[in-house]
Symmetry: C2
C-alpha cells in the first residue's frame, strides 16, 4: 500500500434556504466529484442555517478534523449574508473591509457606472489576514483563511471559484474506480458480492440500488488505488453475474 | 408570538457514494420541503460515509439535539449496508432479524417464486425494539427507534416511507412564506432591504441571488408565522423595488 498521505476534506453549506427546501443544493455534489477526481477524500458534509453560532460550531469542528474545509453560501451583499462574520469569529479575528477587495469592486462599479453602495461594500468584508479566491463571474472574491475556503452559494460562482482553488491544493493519490452495471436487484447478488468483497480486501466494493419504477437493478462500483486489484475484483463480479444469469435462464426453462 | 413548541429535525444521509459525487442526493431537498410544509424546522443536515463509528457519532450528536432525526441510506441487502448495525450501536441495543420483517419478506419472496437469500434476510435486521416504517415500493421496511427514523436511500422508497412517517409526527406551527421576484441584483437592494428587515423584526427576510449567465436577479423570501406581518413586509419590499425601478428609469433618461 502507498505511503502517500491521505488528503481529506469536509463541505459546509450555509443557508436557511437549503434547510427549508426552497433551494436544492447543487454545490455539494459538484465539489464531491471534483475532489474525488483530485484524490482528495470528502469525508463529511454539513448544512447549517444562517446563524453565527451554528456556523462557528460546525466550522471549528470540521477545520480541526480535515485537511481542508470548503464552505458555500452567505457571502453576498445582503443583511442575511453573515458567513464572513461567522468565519472571522471562528478564527477569532476581526471581520473588516479588505482594501484590495474594496479597490477591485470599486473599480468594477465605476466601470459599470453603478453606485458602490454600502451593501456592495459588504462583499469586500472578510476575516483580517484572508487571501482572495478570484471570482471571474461576478468579481466579488471568496476568501481563504487557514484551511478554510469560503465560496459563494450561486452554483456558477461556486464552480468558478473552485476551479481557481483546486490547482492550489495538496492532492492525494487518485482513487481509481470501475463499475459493473448489474441487471439484478441487490437481493440476487448480495450473498455472492459479500464473498467477493471479502476475497478482495484491497478494494472497496460498493453496491448502489436503482429503482426504475418497475424493477430494481444495481450499479456495482469497485474503488481502489491499484488498477490491477480493481480489475481482478471486477472479473470476479462479472463471473458471478453470468453465473446468476445462466441460473435464472435455467430456472425459466 | 405563539406559545406552541418548536418542532425541530435533522437529516443524516449515509453513503460513500454521496461523498464521492457518484450519487447526487435527492432526499435532503425533498425532506426539507415536506418538513417545512408540516411546520417542522429542519435545522441541520449531515452526510457521512458507510463507517459505523462515523454514523454512530453523527447520530448521537443529532438525536440528542433535535426533536426528530431522519436518516437515508444503508439499509439494503448488501455487505456495505451497515446502517441498521450502526443505529443499534448508537442506541446500545442488539441488531437482529425482526420476526415480523422476516415473515413479511419471506411471504413476498414465496409469492414471487424467489429465493429468500441471506442477503435478503439482512433487510429484516434492525435494532431490537424498533417499529417498522412501511415500504409500499419494495416491501423491506425502514424502522423507528427513539426519535430516529431510518429510511432507504433510493429516492422512490425514501419518499414512500416518509409519506408513511409524516402523519405520525408532532408538527409545529406552519411557517408561512411569500416571495417577491426582484429583477435587480442584491447589490441594488441590499441597503434598502436591510432597513426593511430591521423594521419588520417579526418576519425573516431572505435574499437569494440568481445568475442567468448574463445578469443577477434576486428572489426575496419573507417567512413568518403571522400572515399580516408577512403582507406588511412584502408591501414595503414592493414599494422599495418600484422606487429603485423608477430611479433607474430616471437615470437612463
Amino acid at each position: 500500500m502507498s505511503k502517500a498521505p491521505r488528503v481529506t476534506a469536509a463541505a459546509l453549506a450555509i443557508g436557511d434556504e437549503l434547510l427549508s427546501g426552497r433551494t436544492k443544493d447543487k454545490n455539494i455534489g459538484h465539489l464531491a466529484e471534483m475532489l474525488t477526481a483530485a484524490g482528495i477524500e470528502l469525508e463529511e458534509v454539513r448544512i447549517v442555517p444562517d446563524e453565527q453560532e451554528r456556523i462557528v460550531e460546525a466550522l471549528n469542528a470540521l477545520r480541526a478534523r480535515y485537511t481542508y474545509v470548503f464552505t458555500s453560501g452567505g457571502i453576498g451583499p445582503t443583511h442575511d449574508d453573515i458567513t464572513a462574520d461567522a468565519v472571522s469569529a471562528a478564527f477569532g479575528v476581526a471581520c473588516d473591509h479588505d482594501a484590495d477587495a474594496v479597490a477591485l469592486l470599486g473599480a468594477m462599479y465605476v466601470e459599470r457606472g453603478m453606485e458602490f453602495t454600502d451593501a456592495r461594500r459588504r462583499m469586500a468584508r472578510m476575516p483580517v489576514g484572508s487571501r482572495h479566491i478570484e471570482n471571474p463571474v461576478s468579481r466579488a472574491p471568496g476568501f481563504v483563511i487557514g484551511n478554510v475556503y469560503v465560496m459563494a452559494g450561486v452554483p456558477a460562482v461556486f464552480q468558478a471559484m473552485l476551479d481557481n482553488v483546486l490547482p492550489t491544493l495538496q492532492t492525494g493519490i487518485k482513487i481509481l474506480s470501475d463499475k459493473v452495471d448489474c441487471p439484478f436487484g441487490e437481493g440476487d447478488i448480495g450473498d455472492a458480492l459479500a464473498v467477493i468483497a471479502k476475497a478482495h480486501p484491497d478494494v472497496n466494493i460498493g453496491s448502489y440500488p436503482r429503482f426504475s419504477g418497475q424493477k430494481f437493478s444495481t450499479e456495482i462500483v469497485i474503488r481502489g488505488r491499484d488498477l490491477q486489484a480493481i480489475n481482478n475484483a471486477k472479473a470476479d463480479v462479472e463471473a458471478m453475474l453470468s453465473d446468476i444469469a445462466s441460473h435464472k435462464a435455467a430456472t425459466v426453462v
